[in-house]
């Protein structure tokens, strides 16, 4: 006999189930793809009903027990209730030279978005319109979801409605970075769900930036998921800046399918939210491709941030590089779980994964869990993880030249994170991210 050890439902789970039931009853999707998307949503809803929020007995969520951390759940915001208020609070970051599209409280804010004069070959459409109009790319929605149940993604899919469908035609090289800015501006806690799909055609290129910001002191929850399809010979750069308000919960899911001979690079800079989780699912589906997944996480106070990554070398001759740097001050808690799977056919795989943590606080904590699962026999793979504090000898050298202690520390932290930041290819974006990291260090130094 099997004993089902089904934990008691939490209040947040009950609220979420009730909200979802109400939403399904009133929110029918229009258009030719409604049935297909309806099924994807229904499946996610059913999975959530059965499994609920992820908790510590789910291996991928071991260090980020959402069942315990998410005390409340809120209905998603469905419209911008007060455009002027949004404008007043809107201090979303801008990146030089980038085209910006803004989501306010999870809802596309057209008045703040630059959607005119799109480059030839680039199309950007609200998700609902793309479903209604039967945009071909929408067929791919939900196809990159992992086999195993992922509670944050299931919620995102069950609440699916707001978001963008971005399509880059075959051969189109979009030089100007495209920036999706998410800002939370409300005085009261609420939830936002955004879901985007990015389809980059054969031989095309795109630089995409997503940023997340919001009000301090408001316990809002942003749940964002993005699926990126990088076509054969494509070149995709994805930058993610997470600077949510200090009591927010940020749940992010990044999924990517990488075609043949593609170049695919992601970089995440995280310094926001009380509790942050980023799940990354990457899959090589064509040979000869190169992927670089990198990130810097800066934590202080009692912040908690978790990056959990699964990279699937499903085919041969691909190269992957992962480098994650975490700086932990005070009593913060960082998590890196990285798993590289090399399938039996994925010969000549070249994979290197490294996670490094710099512990500045006596009670800061880092959980590092790199894993390799290799089923092919002719591969080069390696992983490493380190955790330590600032090197006293380096500090002394700087101080002996007259550099004050705080400034010396900041220089060394900057150097530590700089080793990852230097991989951001676009000069303007790299400089902007370095400036954000420097601002964090300045603020911390006081």
């Amino acid at each position: 006999m099997t004993i089902h050890n089904q934990p008691v439902r939490t209040a947040a789970e009950d609220q979420l189930r009730a909200t979802l039931d109400a939403r399904v009853a009133q929110d029918a999707l229009p258009g030719p793809l409604a049935a297909r998307i309806g099924e994807v949503r229904e499946a996610a809803l059913a999975a959530f009903r059965e499994n609920g929020l992820p908790h510590r007995r789910v291996e991928e969520w071991k260090y980020t027990d959402l069942r315990a951390l998410m005390r409340d759940a809120f209905a998603p915001v469905t419209e911008i209730s007060d455009g002027t208020a949004a404008e007043g609070h809107l201090r979303a970051v801008t990146f030089p030279g980038a085209r910006r599209i803004v989501f306010v409280n999870g809802v596309l804010a057209r008045q703040h978005s630059d959607l005119v004069g799109l480059e030839p070959g680039l199309s950007v459409m609200p998700l609902a319109s793309a479903i209604a109009k039967g945009h071909g790319a929408v067929e791919k929605l939900g196809t990159l979801a992992p086999q195993r149940y992922d509670g944050a993604l299931a919620l995102n899919t069950a609440f699916l409605g707001e978001g963008l469908v971005i399509h880059v035609a075959d051969g189109a090289k979009i030089a100007r970075p495209l920036h999706i800015a998410h800002v939370f501006t409300l005085d009261d806690a609420a939830a936002t769900y955004s879901r985007s799909l990015v389809d980059v055609g054969v031989g095309a290129s795109l630089t995409l930036v997503e940023s997340f910001q919001g009000r301090d002191g408001v316990a809002y929850q942003q749940n964002d998921a993005i699926e990126v399809f990088a076509g054969d010979d494509s070149h995709v750069d994805y930058i993610r800046l997470q600077e949510e308000g200090d009591t927010a919960i940020h749940l992010g899911t990044f999924m990517a399918d990488i075609g043949r001979d593609a170049k695919f690079h992601t970089f995440g800079l995280t310094s926001g939210a009380q509790t942050a989780r980023l799940s990354v699912y990457g899959r090589f589906s064509g040979t000869g491709s190169q992927a670089g997944l990198r990130g810097v996480t800066l934590l202080k106070g009692r912040q908690h941030a978790d990056v959990t990554l699964l990279l699937d070398h499903a085919v041969a001759q691909c190269e992957s590089r992962e480098l994650f740097k975490t700086v932990l001050a005070d009593e913060s808690h960082g998590v890196f779980q990285g798993k590289i799977v090399v399938r039996p056919d994925a010969q000549k795989t070249d994979g290197r994964m490294m996670s490094q943590a710099l512990l500045l606080g006596e009670t800061a904590e880092m959980d590092n869990k790199p894993e390799l699962e290799i089923f092919a026999d002719d591969v080069q793979c390696g992983h490493g993880a380190t955790a330590g504090d600032l090197d006293e000898d380096l500090l002394f050298y700087l101080k002996a030249r007259g550099i004050p202690a705080k400034e010396a520390e900041a220089m060394l932290i900057q150097a530590f994170v700089g080793e990852a930041l230097e991989f951001v290819e676009n000069d303007d974006l790299r400089d902007a991210l370095i400036a954000r990291a420097e601002a964090w260090l300045k603020k911390r130094a006081g």
Binding site: Y397, G402, A415
Partner: protein, 251 residues
């Protein structure tokens, strides 16, 4: 008044007493050499003066131009005019040499209530001084000492000393790891800094360096104290006789 005055200095690392009552007085315009066998405490003296945290001063005092060095943080000592040229300059990946030099120089100027140098002023200054020491623009762009040869690291130390214009320079075995050409370049850099307002302490195991940087006073250090003081001819005498007269246990 002496620029650097050390009286009865005792210091230890863990439970190991290394400086055992050291006295030294360096006047403005003088170059002093401190020689001695390995383990006599020469490098410890330089670290204690610069404020390395591993060392604990248990007695005595050290004054820089009348100010009590031992009460100051390492960065305050530097701003007050103390400079230690490290025996083993450290590599700092990710901190560009240029950024490091500028941060150090401006931090010291700020601490002394002076105007910070503008970027063009700074660049002009570095270019001129680096040129004399054979330090290329490429080296200045690289991380501090990253990928530098032993000689390049020492030249980088002298460049820092030249830019920072300290009152008292302590050179800790600056000759170690240098071939004769590098030794000449480094010595010329040091000699260019000799001035009636500045004092220097050159720590070395070998007399060779002192052919290039000719000292006014030579001290012999042994078991944590200065045991003999003389003129520059003392260095030659030691070169001939070795440190054998200073106890077998010193070897």
């Amino acid at each position: 008044m002496a620029l650097l005055e050390i009286k009865n200095l005792h210091a230890r690392i863990d439970d190991n007493e290394i400086l055992k009552g050291l006295d030294l007085q360096v006047n403005a315009g003088e170059v002093h050499a401190i020689m001695g066998p390995n383990g006599s405490g020469k490098s410890t003296l330089s670290y204690v003066l610069a404020g390395k945290p591993d060392y604990e001063v248990t007695a005595g005092e050290a004054l820089l131009d009348g100010l009590n060095l031992l009460d100051m943080a390492p960065e305050e000592r530097a701003s007050a005019g103390l400079f230690l040229a490290f025996q083993y300059p450290i590599e700092i990946p990710g901190v560009a040499t240029m950024t490091f030099l500028r941060t150090a120089l401006n931090a010291q100027r700020k601490a002394r209530g002076e105007e910070e140098l503008s970027t063009p002023e700074f660049l002009r200054l570095v270019k001129e001084k680096a040129g004399h020491l054979g330090i290329s623009q490429d080296m200045l762009r690289r991380g501090v000492n990253v990928g530098f040869s032993g000689g390049e690291k020492k030249r980088n130390e002298i460049l820092q000393m030249t830019l920072l214009q300290p009152k008292v320079c302590i050179l800790d075995e600056t000759d170690s790891g240098l071939d004769i050409d590098a030794l000449k370049v480094v010595s010329e850099g040091v000699n260019a800094l000799r001035s009636p307002e500045r004092g220097m302490v050159v720590i070395t195991h070998y007399q060779r360096l002192l052919d290039h940087i000719v000292p006014d006073v030579v001290h012999v250090m042994h078991k944590g104290r200065i045991v003999r003081t003389g003129g520059k001819e003392l260095a030659h005498e030691l070169e001939a006789s070795g440190y054998a007269g200073y106890g077998q246990d010193a070897a």
